[in-house]
Every structure is written in C-alpha cells, then in structure tokens.
Symmetry: C2
DNA sequence: GTGCGTGCAAACCGTTTGCAATCGG
DNA sequence: CCGATTGCAAACGGTTTGCACGCAC
C-alpha cells in the first residue's frame, strides 16, 4: 500500500475543493483555502491538486486561453468558458468525438487520434452586466 | 493613413515567417529570424507577430496545452497537434461548428455562442520514431 | 525514528512592457 | 525633424522545484 499520509493540508484542500463547484483553477482553490487555513503554502495546494488529478480522484481540465481548471467530475464531458470573465461550466450536448475524429484527415502525414471540443459563450452574470449598459 | 513604417526588422520577420509552414510559435520565428539577423530583439519579433495578427494579416492560434502559434492562413480551419512533439498541422474536415454549438446547452445560465474544435494525433516523424523502438 | 509532506523562496517559461535610443518618412 | 519602432532588461503570471524542516505513522 502506498504510504500516503492523511495530512491536515490534504484534508482541507479536499474539503474546500469539494465545496466549490466552479471548476476552479489551482489559484482559486488556494485563495479559498487560505480563508480557512491562512498558513497553507501555495505550493502545497498546487501539489495536492496535481496529485489528486494524477491519481484520478479529480480531473485536470486543459482549456484554450485559460489556466488549467480542476473538475470534481472525472468522467468525460464538455465545458463552456465565459468570454468575458473566464468562468467555466459544464455543457449538456450530444457531441460524438469519434465521428469528428474519423471525419478528419491530417496534412503532412499526421495521424489524427482524437479531438478536443470546447464551447465559448457568456455566463449569466456577464450577460446581465451587458444588458444593464444598454 | 496609419503611420506604419517599413522597417528592416518587419521585412525580415515577414519574410522568415512566410517561409515557415509549420504554424510556428513566436519563439520559433524568433529563432529562425536570428539566423538571418542575429541582432534582432526577441521583443520585436513578438511585437511584429502580434501586430500582424491584430491587423488580420496572419492568424494567431490558441491551442490547448501549447503556446500560441501563428498561421499564414487567415481563414477559419482546423488543426491537429502532435501529442509527442507538439507540432501543428492543418486538418481537412467537415466539422459544422454551428451544429455543435446549437446542439449544446450550458448549465448555470450559460449562453453558448460558439465552439473550438482541435484535433490531437501524432506526426509522421514521431510515428516513425515509435516504430523504430519496436 | 523514518521518510513523506510541507513551507519557503527561487527558478521557470513564454510573453509583455517601460523606457531611452534610433531611424524611417 | 519627430514620432513610430527598436533593443534592452525588467516585470509579469501562473506554475514548478530544491531543499531543509517538521509531522504522520
């Protein structure tokens, strides 16, 4: 059995992360954690999140034009990013990755194996701010 | 009329970039430029490429898990990234962005406006290296 | 007691920026 | 001439890392 220790920091980071449902970045988790445990190190939060992702307990999302986000849902699904504030949310869709991939042909001898689909839009808050300007 | 000057640096960066067909990053263009003009500043290359993209003369590509790349083709099309070496190439496909976008529904009041599709695969060179190992 | 996990600070990497010097028009 | 453009170096932002200390087991 792996000699993983159950440290206070790990418990706090896990707790705080699980209470956030905004697909937070490591920095956002760090800020939230600081409120409950001001002494915690930024490096520790980054390390614990990366470790959790490597162990498959959470998912590390790579997004275009945004820092990596962490997702409590580990299964494959899609995301939308707010073009104003960068917020991230889940998306309900019927995208068929396999079909996209099969229908694509790479130039220059590239072999296509998969694809990444990501949506862009605007979140509720930013939409309301926009309307208030008019 | 815009007071744009035709400097030596601009001519060189444009020339070198146009002779590269690998969807290079700014850093890659800088390295290539240095061979012909060792005195050029990194900042200048970054600035000239960003400027060209803003003026629509070239396209700045945002990719997942890679630095921004520059593309001599300004029209919309798709790309594939090599999962081994990060090389980028164009993709021939029939993806219908509009259909993907229409078929998606965001949670938490998100309004979905568009989508980003990007392919992952393996380039010819890396494929051959892999085969040589077996 | 042992060695994993932490805190700290520095390194990292690609990119951007402030500023003085320079050069194109 | 004069202001756009350059070079330099420093700042940036998010992330990772080396190392000594300290705590979980």
């Amino acid at each position: 059995m792996k000699g993983k220790r159950n440290t206070l920091q790990k418990r706090i980071v896990t707790d705080v992360f699980c209470s956030m449902h905004n697909h937070p970045s490591a920095g956002m988790v760090f800020e939230a954690v600081q409120e409950r445990f001001p002494g915690i190190s930024r490096a520790t939060v980054y390390r614990l999140l990366a470790e959790a992702a490597e162990e498959g307990r959470i998912q590390r999302l790579k997004l275009v034009d945004a820092n990596d986000r962490y997702d409590i849902t580990t299964g494959k699904h899609y995301h939308v990013t707010c073009r104003c504030c960068g917020a991230v949310a889940d998306v309900k869709t019927e995208v068929d990755d396999g079909r996209l991939t099969d229908g694509a042909e790479g130039y220059e001898g590239f072999l296509i194996e998969g694809c990444h689909v990501e949506f862009v839009g605007i979140c509720e808050g930013c939409r309301q701010k926009q309307e208030n300007l008019n």
